[in-house]
Amino acid sequence: MFVEDYKLGGGLNEEQIKIMHEKALKLIENVGIEVPHKGILDILSDYDGVKIEKENVKFSSDLVLKALKESKYDVPDYAKDNWIISAGAHQTACYDLDTGKLRESNSKDLINFIKLGDALNTVGSAPVVPLDVPIQLQLILMFKVAYENSRYRCNDIYEHMDKPTIECANYVYEMAKVAGKRFAYGVWMISPRYFDKNGLEVAYKLLDKGVPMWISTMPVAGVSSPITMIGTMLQSMFEHFAGLTMLSLINTKSFNYISPNDAFEGDAFDMKYSTFVYGSVEYLYHTLYQIPLCRYYGVPIMTKTLLTASKEPDAQAAAEMGIHTLIAALAGARAFRCGGLLSSGEIYSGEQLVIVKEIVEYVKNILKKQEFSEEQLMVDEIEEVGVGQSFIGRKSTIDNFRAEYWQPELFIHSNIGQWKEMGSKSLRQYANEKAKKLIKEHSYQIDEDIKKELDKIYECAQNDVKLKESFK
C-alpha cells in the first residue's frame, strides 16, 4: 500500500475543454487559415470538406476530427514511464565553461554540450548553433554531431529542429537514414493563422519521401493572439488543428502529429521590456492549460518548465524553474523541456543544464511513491531503542537510509565548517566542475563505419553550391 500520490487540483475541466474544442472547430470552419502555396492548395482542392478562397483554407469539422484521430505519437521506449529532460535548441550564445564569459557559440561548444547532454541522459535537439561554420552547414553539422555523440538526440518526437531549405532537409534525411535515426519534418504556423511559404515548400517537396510531419504554432498573448491566456490557448488549438488537418490531407504516405514540444503553445509577453517571458507566472498558467489539453487529445505531455528569464544560473532561474517544474509535475507532467537555457532561450549554459538535472531530481524525489506498511512504521524499532540511545547505527537505518534520504549531488547539505573546508564553492562552481568532468569522461560514440558515412555526406554538403545558394 502507498500513501496517496500528490496531485494538483483545479485547472481546465473536461466541460471547459469541450467548449474550447467546439469553438476551435467553428473557427477552422468559418475563419480558416492562410496557405500560401499553390501546390498544396491544388492537393487540398481535391478533398470534400475543404473550402478554398484564394489562399484562405477552411476545413469541415469531420476532416479535423479525422486528422486528430489519425495523429500518431511513436514515443520511444526510453521515454515511456520515465522522467525526461529535453535540453536546449538553436542557441547562438553560451557561457564559456572555462572563462565563465558569455560569447557566441561554436563547433567545439556544440560537441561539448552534446556530450554533456548525453552524459546527463537528456533528449531533444542540438543545443547550440556552430556559428564558426558557414550558415548552410550549421544545421547539418548540428544533426551530425548529435548523431555521432549522443544516444537520444535529434531522432524522435522530442526533436524540433528546423530544416529551412529542401537541400538542407535532404542532407539531414540522408544522415538520419545512415545513422538509423528517425527523420521528421515540422511545419510552423505563424500566428495569427498563416504559414511560412518556405516551410510549406520544403514540406511539399518532402511529400514523396513519406516522412512523418508535425505541426506547431506559438501564438503570443496580446501580440499575435488575444491578451487573455485562455483566448490564446483557443487560438493555439485552432491553429494546431487546422495545421494538422492540412498535413493529414497532403502527407498521406506517412503519419502526422501535433509536436509535443510545443503542443498548444501560448506564449507570454512582457509589455514593459517587449520580450517573451518564459518562466513567468503567465507562462506557468499556459503550462497548466496545456497539460489537460494534451491529455484530452492524447498528445504526449512535454512542458517547457525549464525556461527562465534570468540571464545567469542564479536564484531567479532556480525559483522560476523549480516552481514551474514542481507544479507541472503535480499536474501530471513527467517530461520537461529547455534544460540549459537562460534569458528565455537566448543563452545556453552547461552549468545550468547540470543544475536543471538536480532540480528535476529534487522534484522527482518529492513525488516518489511513499509506502505505507507495518515495515515502514517500524514499531519494533521504536520499542527496542532505549531512552537516549541512537537509531543511527541500527541495521534498519543502514538498510534504508539511502532510500529514505535523497542525496543530492549539487545541493550540498554540508555545514559552514565543512563547506569552507571543501573550498567555499558556489553552486555554479560545483555545476561547472561537474559539467567539465562529464564532458571529459563522456565515451559514447556512434559506430565508426556510420561515422565515416556521415563524414562523406557532410563533405558533400561542404562542396554543394546548390545548398549554399539555397540559404541566400
Binding site: G388, S390, T397
Partner: protein, 207 residues
C-alpha cells in the same frame, strides 16, 4: 596481516569480524595486535572515507559497533600493562542547553576511534566538568552548544576549566559555533562535524 578484520570493520560485518577475531586468537595472535593492526586500522579507513564523503554516518556507526563487539572479546584478554593507554575525553552539553544529538554523535565517533569517553550529558554546570577532570584525569573536554544563547556560556566555562586545570585541552562544537568564535573564547580547537572532531582530538593530545 589482519586485513580481513579491517575489511569486516569497513564493511560493518559484525559476524565476520567476531569470527575472525576468534580465529586469530585461536591461532595465538596477540589481542593488542588484533586491535591495533586489524580493528583500529579498519576504523582509520572508515574515518578517511567518511571525511571524503564516500561513507555515510550510519555506515560509520555500523563499523564502530562492529569494532566494539570485537573489542568486548579482546579487552578481557589484555593485561593492564599491555593495555594501550587510552585518551580520556569528557563530553558535555553546556549549562542551559538540552540538545544532545551532536554531542552524542561526537561521543560515538570518538569512542569508535579508540578514545575513552566520559559523557556527562546535557545542561552540565562547569563545576561538574571540573570535578570530573580531577577525578578521571581526563586529557580533553568537549563542550557542545546548539543555541546562540547558551553558546555564550562557553567562554566563562573554558576560563574556569583552564584556571583550575591548565593542561586540559578544550574543544568546542555545535551548530552556531565557528572557528572564529572558538578562537575568541579561548578554546583549543573547533570541529565542524563529528569526524573532524576525531582529527581534532588526536591533534590536541599530541601537542
Amino acid at each position: 596481516m589482519f586485513e580481513e578484520i579491517s575489511r569486516a570493520v569497513i564493511e560493518g560485518n559484525d559476524e565476520e569480524c567476531i569470527k575472525l577475531t576468534q580465529k586469530y586468537l585461536d591461532e595465538g595472535e596477540k589481542p593488542v595486535s588484533i586491535i591495533k593492526d586489524g580493528l583500529v586500522a579498519g576504523m582509520n579507513v572508515v574515518g578517511k572515507r567518511f571525511k571524503a564523503y564516500e561513507m555515510y554516518l550510519p555506515e560509520v556507526m555500523m563499523s564502530a559497533n562492529v569494532m566494539k563487539k570485537s573489542m568486548a572479546i579482546l579487552k578481557p584478554l589484555i593485561s593492564e600493562s599491555e593495555m594501550p593507554s587510552m585518551v580520556k575525553i569528557i563530553m558535555a552539553t553546556i549549562r542551559g542547553d538540552l540538545h544532545d544529538i551532536g554531542k552524542n554523535l561526537v561521543s560515538m565517533m570518538l569512542e569508535g576511534a579508540g578514545f575513552e569517553i566520559i559523557d556527562l550529558g546535557v545542561d552540565v554546570p562547569v563545576d561538574k566538568i571540573i570535578e570530573e577532570i580531577e577525578k578521571s584525569k581526563a586529557d580533553v573536554v568537549g563542550i557542545s552548544a546548539l543555541l546562540t544563547t547558551t553558546m555564550m556560556a562557553m567562554e566563562p566555562a573554558i576560563k574556569k576549566i583552564k584556571d583550575k586545570n591548565s593542561n586540559v585541552k578544550v574543544m568546542v562544537g555545535g551548530a552556531p559555533i565557528t572557528q572564529e568564535f572558538a578562537d575568541k573564547i579561548g578554546a583549543d580547537g573547533f570541529a565542524p562535524d563529528a569526524l573532524r572532531a576525531i582529527d581534532l582530538a588526536k591533534r590536541l593530545v599530541s601537542t
